[in-house]
């Protein structure tokens, strides 16, 4: 790439990338600067600046590689503003692998750029908390008390937290209601299949999913066993590594990935099933995450090959159970595409196909279905302003379809959308497709 002028004085005299896997110039060169990725990029849609678009970020990576721009505040903030939703990868007609480029850039930032103190603290809090279910659980007790005492109303009404720090405010505002059940894992290690056994499958519970949405996990297990799967849930499983991986915490991600692989070792499962989109995407990337580890490289490949999203799996093997209607009349549903399913795993048909099998369900399609809702892992905690605008837009688009219920297959999206439904004073229920299938299989009506 030729840049018009000689490198000038960098506005913050900082270095560039180090030699450990910088974004690959060969991948950068496949970008022809056509701009097709711009309008599908959620950060560009909100911020509107070239630097906050995929094309602009690739341009910046190239400039840093070439020593034309520093790895400093002026560039890092634009990598930080990327939601990692991978819509650009789906859109790009030149096949640019932006996912690889941003995955290479993030650890470079963590190694070679020193963040401001508050930024550092918030990040540390998140990375030391969310990937560890047991630590999260410790926090749950005060949270339960906090919620029961009515503090949330107080904080939300006065905007006090938001004034202290918009990020802490954002963190508080998406917290779901905690139930006592979140304090323990209730599922046994092996659950037999109902009827004839067709498969032996492992199930990954997910950190956020298991604490805040344990009923989704319960539903998933029931749907699987009802459809002839023997389910194995190793107690030693931890976090899938999605969170640290998406934010460039490479070593932490590798350690968690190894732990996950170990916990399924010797279980003899045919597939490993996950019902959270973000986790599924990372689990399928294990071969890449552990590519430099000679002891785990092969195991990681084998493990990743077995990972299937719950809906992908069920659509693949087919439902064998009878399905009953969820309501007395018709039920109009809108399915919310999670980025890590749609763009990350190219799964969009399967969930719709499963939902359509439920008698009485009418599926609606929203405008900008492929645009991120702003949740994107921990993005809504790190970049609250952008996330809020995306959340509002998403809720508007979903509700404009006139649907009575939203189906969402990712805990992050569910939290984000619930928050914005609440802010807009709308009372539309939001459920995981596995819950809907579970109701339908058990013949339970939704509003009973």
């Amino acid at each position: 790439m030729q840049i018009s002028e000689k490198p000038g004085i960098n506005s913050d005299n900082l270095g560039g990338f180090d030699a450990n896997h910088p974004p690959d110039p060969k991948l950068i060169d496949t970008c022809v600067h056509c701009g097709f990725c711009l309008s599908t990029c959620p950060s560009y849609r909100v911020i509107g600046k070239e630097m906050d678009s995929p094309r602009g970020r690739i341009y910046l990576m190239d400039a840093i590689n070439e020593g034309e721009a520093p790895l400093g505040e002026g560039t890092v903030q634009h990598f930080d503003s990327c939601l990692g939703c991978l819509a650009c990868v789906t859109t790009c007609p030149s096949g640019v692998q932006y996912d690889k480029l941003i995955a290479a850039t993030r650890p470079q930032i963590e190694r070679n750029y020193s963040r401001s103190l508050p930024d550092k603290l918030v990040r540390q809090l998140i990375f030391n908390l969310f990937p560890y279910p047991n630590r999260l659980r410790v926090l749950l007790a005060p949270l339960l008390i906090y919620q029961k005492l009515g503090f949330p109303k107080f904080f939300r009404a006065t905007g006090l937290l938001k004034q202290i720090s918009p990020r802490l405010g954002a963190m508080e505002s998406i917290l779901p209601n905690v139930t006592l059940k979140a304090f323990r894992d209730t599922l046994p290690e092996v659950i037999p299949a109902e009827g004839k056994k067709r498969y032996r499958v492992g199930v990954i519970l997910g950190c956020v999913q298991r604490l805040f949405f344990s009923k989704v996990n319960d539903a998933t297990v029931r749907v699987l066993t009802a459809n002839g799967c023997e389910v194995v849930i190793p107690k030693s499983q931890g976090c899938c590594a999605a969170l640290p991986e998406h934010q460039g915490q490479k070593e932490q991600a590798q350690a968690l990935a190894r732990q996950m692989i170990d916990s399924f070792e010797g279980t003899g499962v045919d597939f490993v099933i996950i019902n959270a989109a973000g986790c599924g995407h990372t689990l399928k990337e294990y071969a890449h995450i552990l590519e430099d580890d000679p002891n785990y490289r092969e195991k990681a490949k084998e493990f990743a090959g077995k990972v299937k999203d719950a809906q992908e799996f069920l659509a693949l093997v087919g439902l064998t159970t009878k399905l009953s209607p969820l309501t007395d009349g018709e039920l109009t549903l809108v399915y919310q595409d999670a980025c890590h399913l749609l763009h990350g795993q190219k799964i969009s048909v399967q969930p719709r196909q499963l939902l359509r099998q439920i008698p009485g369900v009418k599926l609606r399609e929203p405008i900008d279905a492929a645009l991120c809702c702003g949740s994107a892992g921990v993005y809504n905690m790190l970049q609250p302003e952008v996330a809020d605008e995306l959340g509002q837009q998403k809720v508007d688009n979903l509700l404009n379809t006139g649907a009575e219920l939203i189906a969402s297959a990712n805990p992050g999206c569910t939290l984000q959308i619930s928050k914005h439904l609440q802010l807009q004073g709308k009372e539309v229920p939001i459920m995981h497709p596995m819950e809907l299938l579970d109701y339908s299989i058990r013949g339970v009506k939704l509003y009973e």
Binding site: S11, D29, G72, P93, S94, G95
Partner: protein
């Protein structure tokens, strides 16, 4: 910020003024951030702007333009930056006015079939907004998922559906403009017929040299009752070309008619992989017909007969939306897919009389061999608008210069057979030196007088469209350049 000594512009107070208009967040001034604005869809020209300003309203645009006017600073408008002729290429020490945040659809009037939008609205958002009610916006450049209406107006963009319905200019009813002195004017109206000079028509296609459009009133059309796409594949490209002439000769006006050659077929199949286009075909012809049910059925039959008569190997048809989109998908991705085949590509955009098609294609093939670069051809066959894509590697020293020369030879060829330098991508920075091939001294002088009326100080997008002695050397017309010295100051 880098400050250019020679011009001695003190940017800090000027930036402060911009910040007062659009807020701190609406101004980009860091060196590394400005880098991302140094080129548009044509990356062979690069120039970093001094400042980028992102207004949200007509008034903010007007204030920003006034600041430029007061300080004698050149400015360039930019939409999505997908232009292929370097129209939004900054000039040295300029302000780039970007419309990306002007993305509101201001008014939808279905009864009168019109929509009023801000310039940063993306082309296909217009259709998206009215499709539920059975309407659409006809001009559909391949870049429609990303290019802005403001950019479309400035380039008078066309698309595959412009054969029957006309290009952008046929769909713009009225404009709110900010002129280079910062004044706000309305031209055209909300009805299609207006007495007096057609100023709207003059502005459409002016490539940002006459001012900046801040509100655009567009005409929308009722979606046709029935639409059908035919895909015919041929073992030689002349047969595809002959089919095009025969179809038009028979009195049918298809909504769109496109040809892709073997190289481009393979390029898109590599990337989009829809499996629709046979990889061994010498050419495919895509024809879309729309209208009343009976009309479409009859035309479909006749077109299939004409293609078969000309030797088509197979014909696929699609009536449902999903399959139609699938058939079009490869064509729409053709340019970018070229980027997958080769490190760089250079798109040309010339127009020829339809009857010259096989001659010109043969000549392009000869040029390809002479220069030693592969050329993929995709074109709007119905209106003879060629898009040869020259594949090359920019990292090879001297390659770009040779490719530009080759591109120039193709353009000259188009003009020689009675065609034009540009179908829809505009002249911009890229083709200005070829203007004297097509226009006489007097033609060019007349055009410059027009520009002078709107843009007397030459601050709006200087150095575009017209040849300048500095960049075009011999090609520039010495006399007119002298006369317009003040215009070409930058």
């Amino acid at each position: 910020m880098i400050i250019q000594e020679k011009q001695q512009i003190n940017w800090q107070p000027i930036i402060k003024q911009f910040e007062d208009v659009v807020g701190k967040n609406g101004v980009v001034q860091r060196r590394e951030e400005l880098l991302t604005y140094e080129c548009d869809g044509l990356t062979s020209y690069r120039q970093r702007p001094a400042v980028v300003v992102l207004p949200r309203t007509t008034e903010q645009v007007a204030e920003a333009v006034k600041i430029c006017d007061r300080n004698q600073i050149p400015w360039v408008a930019r939409g999505a930056g997908t232009g292929l002729s370097g129209g939004a290429l900054p000039v040295e020490n300029c302000v780039l006015i970007v419309t990306a945040l002007m993305k509101k659809i201001l008014e939808i009037d279905l009864e009168n079939q019109r929509v009023v939008v801000q310039p940063g609205v993306i082309n296909n958002w217009v259709t998206q907004a009215v499709s539920g009610a059975g309407f659409y916006y006809a001009p559909d450049p391949s870049s429609q998922i990303v290019c802005s209406i403001g950019g479309n107006v400035a380039e008078n963009s066309g698309g595959v559906h412009c054969l029957k319905y006309g290009v952008t200019t046929n769909h713009v009813l009225g404009l709110k403009l900010v002129l280079p002195d910062g004044s706000i004017v309305d031209v055209g109206s909300s009805v299609p017929e207006m007495p007096g000079y057609d100023i709207t028509g003059l502005f459409v296609g002016s490539e940002g040299t006459l001012g900046i459009a801040t509100e655009i009133t567009l005409r929308i059309l009722k979606t046709a009752e029935s639409i059908c796409v035919l895909l015919a594949d041929f073992t030689n490209i002349e047969a595809a070309g002959a089919s095009v002439s025969d179809i038009i000769g028979s009195g049918i006006i298809p909504a769109g008619m496109e040809i892709m050659d073997n190289l481009s077929i393979n390029a898109v199949e590599d990337v989009v992989a829809t499996g629709c286009y046979p990889r061994d075909a010498a050419a495919i012809l895509l024809v879309e017909v729309d209208g009343l049910e009976v009309e479409v059925a009859a035309n479909k039959k006749r077109i299939a007969e004409i293609c078969t008569k000309n030797g088509a190997r197979s014909i696929t048809t699609a009536n449902d939306l999903e399959t139609r989109l699938k058939l079009w998908k490869g064509r729409k991705a053709a340019f970018a897919a070229a980027g997958h085949m080769s490190p760089d590509y250079y798109v040309q955009d010339g127009v020829i009389p339809r009857t010259q098609l096989s001659f010109v294609l043969q000549e392009i093939e000869n040029l390809s061999q002479k220069y030693g670069y592969r050329i993929a051809n995709v074109f709007h066959a119905g209106d003879g608008n060629l898009h040869p894509l020259i594949l090359y590697d920019n990292s090879v020293p001297g390659a770009l210069e040779k490719v530009e020369e080759l591109g120039g030879d193709i353009l000259k060829l188009c003009v020689k057979v009675g065609g034009s330098l540009s179908g829809e991508h505009g002249i911009g920075a890229d083709k200005k030196c070829y203007m004297p091939e097509m226009f006489t001294e007097i033609d060019l002088e007349t055009m410059q007088w027009v520009r002078q009326v709107f843009n007397p100080k030459g601050l709006a997008n200087p150095g575009k469209i017209f040849p300048t002695p500095r960049t075009c050397g011999e090609a520039a017309n010495a006399q007119s350049a002298k006369q317009f010295e003040s215009v070409e100051r930058f």
